[in-house]
Subunit: 220 residues, 2 copies
């Protein structure tokens, strides 16, 4: 059995969890490749991610690829195929809205981690930050949002404003034509269906850890 690529399959709607795992597989496959590993079996990928080999094979079949019995998957080929699914050819531009401590650390964190996603602008309502450069990224006034989003063709916003400003900032982003928001602010947002919203609720995650630690301790 030879490695097979059936790219026509990739147009299918992939499950949300498969998208997440593909992103995670790729990150570890890149590390494997950097270490000179050229082939990998599903059970090896499974072990890295603490899931079953069946799950791995299912996800990879969903993107129209299968490995060989003898050698497994070609690492380079698999990375490229996942890239075809997740990335756009010319890359996407993102902006960080709220250039506080968290916003600045995320600019640094995301820069360079993904070649196909460029952080091209920051926005803040603090006049002292406007026209400053943070980790190589120009900070604009929030009042320039619509103008800069259009000029820089920004389609993704990383929202790190305080809770009280989140609703207004999200409305401005939607008005400016943003297509996707990664929301770090501790405020539930309401966006129209054509805007994809992903929320990272760090306070709740920490409270969950605390709850389970408390429960484990038998204090309940």
């Amino acid at each position: 059995m030879n490695a097979k690529i059936n790219q026509t399959l990739k147009a299918a709607n992939l499950p949300d969890k498969t998208i997440e795992r593909l992103s995670q597989y790729r990150r570890n496959l890149l590390q494997c490749l950097a270490k000179g590993k050229q082939h990998i079996f599903s059970h090896e990928i499974a072990q890295i991610h603490h899931i079953t080999p069946v799950q791995v094979r299912r996800d990879i079949m969903l993107i129209g690829y299968s490995g060989t019995l003898r050698k497994g998957y070609d690492v380079k080929e698999l990375i490229d195929l996942i890239g075809n699914i997740l990335d756009t050819r010319e890359g996407l531009n993102a902006a960080v809205v709220g250039v506080g401590n968290l916003g600045r650390s995320l600019i640094g964190y995301f820069s360079g981690k993904r070649s196909k996603l460029n952080i091209v602008a920051g926005f803040d309502n603090n006049p002292e930050k406007v026209d400053k450069i943070y980790a190589g990224v120009h900070c604009y006034s929030i009042d320039q949002l619509a103008e800069v989003v259009e000029r820089e063709r920004v389609s993704i916003a990383i929202l790190t404003v305080p809770a009280d400003n989140a609703t207004e900032a999200a409305e401005r982003l939607v008005m400016a034509g943003i297509k996707g928001i990664l929301n770090f602010s501790p405020k539930p947002l309401n966006v129209p269906p054509h805007v994809y919203l992903e929320e990272i609720d760090m306070i709740t995650s920490l409270e969950k850890v605390a709850y389970y630690v408390k429960k484990q301790g038998g204090e309940e």
Copy 2:
């Protein structure tokens, strides 16, 4: 019908998603209280969180509380009851492991947001950071981990080290007796069952947003 509190129910195992929502309800209830609102209906809570009133009532019944038909829930009472579920009486101590940009911003972000969770230490392997104070938190050498965790009774770790250091750091934390880990490092971790692990995968979240933006754009 009067408000009822049946605290014996709270010992039950609550669903994971209910824990998350209780944390989110509380955050918004605190804002309501700050604005002087003393009673709230399930449909009002539902609207804030973009879920159904039935879901809200079910979650709140699970913690043994019910409101009155006329006035809804007593905001203060509900906040206290959620606190009984999520918090320990004397609070829990947490440490940030990896005092880079992200670690430092999280120290600032989490400090003061939750009175029942105190960040009491930072750890880093960079000698230049050791014995410095970041946002009021003392940074120790990672070699002092076991000693400081015991002395400061740290039960929760917020892990923000680079991917390459994550596995070793997690092993050290488990050895030191940590009970819960909130992992921000882009590396899947393996911990024993008595340690609760919550992972926040920011890169994957951003890649998911990019995938859906691409899909929406019809580029597929």
